[in-house]
């Protein structure tokens, strides 16, 4: 339903998106995960026709977004990261207007608008102006405007940014409802827990490159059963590295350094809690001082850490 092949977007010498490829199927949610500035929005802009890709291809329901852009856009619904609403037009008129922009008319339009109003939970506020709405209500209407024409493919660009927990739960319900209705959804986020809840499959993107792709279970298996231990404080670089290398050479621990700086050391190992005393002793012996310890069980966030060596930047 949605195919992206070797897609690149350059701004002069800067490569915002670097030859990324993925496929998303009908009735599924495909997550595109990455920190801010990773290239998620640029990818969405290239698929939606807002930008011309520098190279590569993208197609929506079999229509190439560049050579057959009009047909591709007819089957595409976009829920942009920023609100895109007429604040001075009643909510119902916003939905009608964008429905008409995609060719809906008459009874079909009215029926769909009513359906969307119910889906987004604004049936009782249909005639009110969005400028009188709360942030969460505006987000829901923004979502409604993107799906009012019943698109086959929906692009959701960080839809939960700035949304309160209640509205976020409602948003998840709406996304799942569209997925269950047969839509193919591309969902970008930098919240791993959202991806774990909603996405059937996902790709992790950083600095414009896809660094991992698969189902949530497939990606988890890449991590194995290893925990991530992060120590914060002050650590003499060479002495600390030697101390940890000694632990590894002793071979009694399945230990690996992910990253090391003067202020932090990140390690991965199995059953980390059992080995904490030995690790602390080694680090202290090397002259290091631990002020904070973070131990995380394997999840997508720790996978991102493993793959990139950095935390997800917000």
């Amino acid at each position: 339903m949605l195919k992206v092949e070797e897609l690149s977007k350059n701004y002069g010498d800067f490569v915002a998106v670097d030859k990324i490829s993925f496929h998303a199927q009908k009735g599924t949610v495909f997550g595109l995960l990455g920190p801010n500035g990773a290239g998620k929005s640029t990818t969405i802009n290239c698929i939606s026709g807002l930008m011309q890709p520098t190279s590569g291809h993208a197609s929506v329901a079999g229509h190439d977004v560049v050579s057959d852009g009009k047909a591709a856009r007819r089957d595409l619904g976009v829920v942009p990261q920023e609100l895109a609403l007429y604040e001075d037009l009643p909510a119902i008129e916003n939905l009608r207007y964008w429905g008409k922009a995609y060719g809906l008319r008459g009874a079909a339009l009215e029926a769909r608008v009513s359906e969307v109003l119910e889906t987004i939970g604004l049936g009782d506020r249909a005639k009110d102006l969005p400028k009188e709405f709360s942030g969460g209500m505006k987000r829901r209407l923004n979502f409604g405007c993107g799906i009012v024409h019943k698109p086959k493919v929906i692009l959701l660009d960080e839809p939960s940014v700035g949304v309160d927990p209640q509205s976020r739960a409602r948003l998840f319900d709406m996304v799942e409802a569209e997925r269950d209705a047969g839509a193919c959804i591309l969902y970008t986020t930098h919240y791993m827990e959202e991806a774990e809840r909603l996405c059937n499959s996902l790709a992790i993107i950083d600095h414009g490159k896809l660094i991992a792709q698969g189902t949530v279970d497939e990606l988890r298996s890449k991590l194995g059963a290893r925990d991530v231990l992060q120590l914060s404080g002050s650590f003499p670089v060479d002495a600390t590295k030697h101390a940890i290398d000694d632990l590894i050479e002793r071979g009694d621990q399945d230990l690996e350094i992910i990253s090391q700086e003067e202020s932090s050391v990140t390690l991965t190992l199995s059953q980390a809690s059992q080995h904490l005393p030995a690790i602390f002793a080694a680090v202290s012996g090397a002259g290091g001082k631990v002020t904070e310890t973070s131990l995380r069980s394997p999840n997508l966030e720790t996978l991102f850490l493993l793959l990139t060596g950095t935390e997800l930047r917000e």
Partner: protein, 406 residues
């Protein structure tokens, strides 16, 4: 076409939310126009007070007093008798245009042809009325001198007659005076000089100045509203709706057409209201209203499209708004909204007519002052239509070249 109408209706619904802007677009030109019309159309003539101190109270001093308030002069000057002290105080306080003192013995001195001094004190704070009073006084003195030259003998004889002259003597005196008047009458009534009056060729009466102001005032409303409606492109961009429009399949042209149509209606309503008020006030024939309304509506779309194109060239809304407003007021000044082009020197008027709004105002002036309706040339209609098409094409180019995507 369907989506163009949808966009048109959408903009009208949104415009209804912004009543305050519309009121400003209408009220400022009407306020300025009203003030100008009041100033140009008022019929107030200057009027002054001449204070007179008559210390002689003779027949001749009464004659002098009466001369100031006779005929059309009486509409300009009121003569008030007063005392010398009060008269000086009132002139010094600026309450009167002048103070004339007729001394005691004025009548006798006139009859006996002896020198006499009339004192005239004028108000230095005024220029026109004291000047008139001075000139009239000099003319009266000249008239007195010539009357004495002409009827000096008769005046002497009358003085010697005493209080109860015989009827026969009075009759003889009257005949003598009549004969003298008749002898000089051919020279005075009419004057012996023959004057040939050459009349200029007949010309059409010049329209009143306040009427010449009307097109400039209407164009002020049109300019305000077209600039205001043009800023909606930026509002849409800030709301993200232009970006959402780009996601929709092939609706950009219809969207622009809808916006132009809405602009025509909004500008037509704002300009039309000022037009109707102007037509009512000046009593202009209603047959010219449809052509005038169509002219300002189409011209308004052209102005709107150019204002929009200009605003869309800038990288942020604030700069676009400031530059657009900075351009607006010089254009209003050049285009005759503050001074009618008809009363400006030729070369300035030529520059004004070359400005976009001056061009429109000049043709509108022709339309409302012409003998019949639809007097604007076809070429002028084509120029404003072409202007609108070019301006909207620039807007479309800016939308496609990144303005909508930001």
């Amino acid at each position: 076409m369907n989506f163009a109408l949808t966009s048109f209706k959408k903009d009208l619904v949104r415009w209804r939310q912004d009543v305050m802007s519309t009121l400003i677009w209408i009220s400022i030109p009407l306020m300025i126009g009203g003030l100008i019309t009041l100033m140009m159309g008022s019929d107030v003539k200057p009027h002054g007070v001449l204070l007179m101190v008559d210390q002689d109270e003779s027949f001749f001093s009464e004659l002098v007093a009466g001369a100031y308030s006779a005929g059309e002069l009486g509409e300009l000057i009121s003569v008030e008798k007063t005392t010398l002290k009060e008269g000086i105080e009132r002139v010094n306080d600026g309450e009167a245009s002048g103070l004339l003192v007729i001394p005691e013995g004025f009548g006798d001195a006139f009859l006996e042809s002896e020198p006499v001094t009339l004192t005239l004190k004028t108000n230095p704070a005024q220029t026109i009325l004291p000047g008139i009073i001075t000139n009239v006084t000099e003319i009266l003195l000249d008239a007195g001198f010539y009357a004495h030259q002409l009827f000096g003998d008769e005046i002497d004889a009358i003085q010697k007659l005493g209080d109860n002259p015989a009827d026969a003597v009075v009759a003889a005196m009257a005949v003598t005076i009549q004969n003298k008047v008749e002898s000089v009458a051919p020279h005075l009534f009419p004057p012996i000089l023959e004057i040939e009056i050459v009349e200029p060729p007949p010309t059409e009466p010049s329209p009143p100045l306040a009427l010449l102001f009307l097109p400039g005032i209407i164009l002020m409303a049109v300019m305000f509203s077209s600039n205001g409606v043009a800023s909606d492109w930026w509002r849409e961009r800030e709301q993200g709706t232009l970006r959402r429009l780009v996601y929709a399949p092939g609706q950009l042209g219809a969207f622009i057409a809808g916006k132009a149509l809405a602009a025509a209606v909004i500008i037509g309503l704002v300009g039309g209201l000022t037009l109707v008020i102007g037509f009512l006030y000046h009593g202009i024939s209603w047959t010219k209203l449809p052509s005038s309304l169509l002219w300002i509506s189409i011209s308004g779309v052209a102005l709107f499209s150019w204002f929009a194109a200009l605003q869309m060239l800038f990288s942020n809304q604030k700069t676009a708004s400031v530059i657009s407003s900075m351009l607006l007021f010089p254009l209003l000044m050049a285009g005759g909204s503050f001074f009618p082009l008809a009363v400006l020197p030729g070369w300035i008027a030529a520059i004004g007519r070359a400005s976009p709004n001056g061009f429109v105002a000049h043709r509108l002036t022709s339309e409302i002052t012409a003998a019949g309706a639809w007097s604007i040339d076809l070429s002028d209609w084509l120029i404003v239509i072409a202007g609108a098409v070019i301006g909207l094409s620039i807007c479309a180019w800016r939308l496609r070249s990144g303005f909508a995507r930001a």
